[in-house]
């Protein structure tokens, strides 16, 4: 079973990367850009046929390693 996980910085946490990327895009003439925030994306495949169990596994991976819950939020989606 395959999942995608999106990890984003919490609102109010400074995003130095996003700021630099945004300024660069605007400098390059992309005036319609309103905002851009950068995060991480994982594609995870687990050997597990029961969806509830699989999600639980993926969630555990997020909590234990992939996500820094102090500054990041995450979302899991089946793909």
């Amino acid at each position: 079973m395959k999942f995608s996980v999106t990890v984003t910085l919490k609102k109010d946490v400074l995003d130095p990367q996003g700021t630099v990327v945004q300024n660069t895009l605007v400098d390059m003439g992309m005036n319609n850009l309103k905002s851009i925030r950068q995060g991480k994306h994982f594609e995870i495949e687990v050997n597990e046929n029961n969806q509830a169990n699989a999600v639980k596994k993926v969630d555990e991976m997020c909590k234990k390693l992939l996500v820094n819950s102090i500054i990041e939020d995450y979302k899991i989606n089946k793909i």
């Binding site: 990367q17 630099v20 990327v21 660069t24 390059m28």
Partner: protein
């Protein structure tokens, strides 16, 4: 010989390389990235550091700066270009050099003295070295893991475009002497015209006996001819 060192926000080896160039009798100028004209130069150096904080991908944002168009023009008309560390990353982002630099295999920043072997001394950058000469030199990077597609790798080999490979003290090129996971231990490459050299190790750190050794001197003096 006239040289120019390009300075981006976040460059931090710009002064170091300028000091080395001046020591080797280059007439050097610093060029701010917002400039739209390059001073007349025989050599353009894109220095190491963390241009734009290495945000997005190392070298990506610097690769879009105003001055880069001028660097590309100069390169195409045969001017010598040297990219060191972040400079190498920037040159790959602009397409002046092919391939790319991925995260180090161990996912950690690595700073240490390592050894590299000179693979082709028949170039403007390396003629003062012997072929197969082993140099001890400092590396300091997060993304030095060179990667390219198999066609380009073949071309690199066939056209002798690999400048340096990581090796050990006695010259063995293998996984143990590969600090960052780089493809075939590649530490530096030329473009097909051999007027552009990109390398991860820092030759400018090896020109002063008080600090280290002088294994980097011949790279700069090769250029002086």
């Amino acid at each position: 010989m006239k040289s120019s060192v390009i300075v981006f926000p976040g460059s931090n080896c710009d002064r170091d390389v300028a000091v080395a160039l001046e020591k080797m009798q280059f007439k050097n100028q610093m060029v701010w990235h917002k400039e739209t004209k390059l001073p007349q130069s025989d050599l353009i150096v894109v220095p190491g550091g963390f241009s734009y904080g290495d945000y997005l991908r190392s070298g990506a944002i610097a690769g879009k700066s105003l001055i880069i168009d001028e660097v590309i023009k100069a390169a195409n008309s045969g001017c010598l270009i040297l990219g060191i560390c972040n400079g190498f990353q920037i040159l790959t982002e602009t397409g002046l050099l092919k391939g790319t630099l991925l995260r180090n295999k161990n996912l950690r920043f690595i700073n240490k003295d390592i050894h590299i072997k000179v693979l082709n001394n028949d170039t403007k950058f390396t003629n003062k070295y012997n072929n197969e000469q082993i140099l001890k030199i400092n590396i300091a990077h997060n993304e030095g893991n060179y990667f390219t597609n198999s066609n380009h790798l073949e071309e690199l080999k066939k056209e002798k475009l690999i400048a340096f490979k990581y090796c050990n003290e006695t010259g063995d090129i293998n996984d143990d002497s590969n600090p960052n996971g780089s493809l075939e231990n590649i530490a530096g490459i030329f473009n097909s015209n051999k007027n552009i050299l990109g390398m991860m190790p820092h030759p400018e750190r090896m020109v002063d006996e008080v600090l280290s050794n002088k294994d980097g001197v011949n790279l700069f003096s090769s250029l002086l001819k």
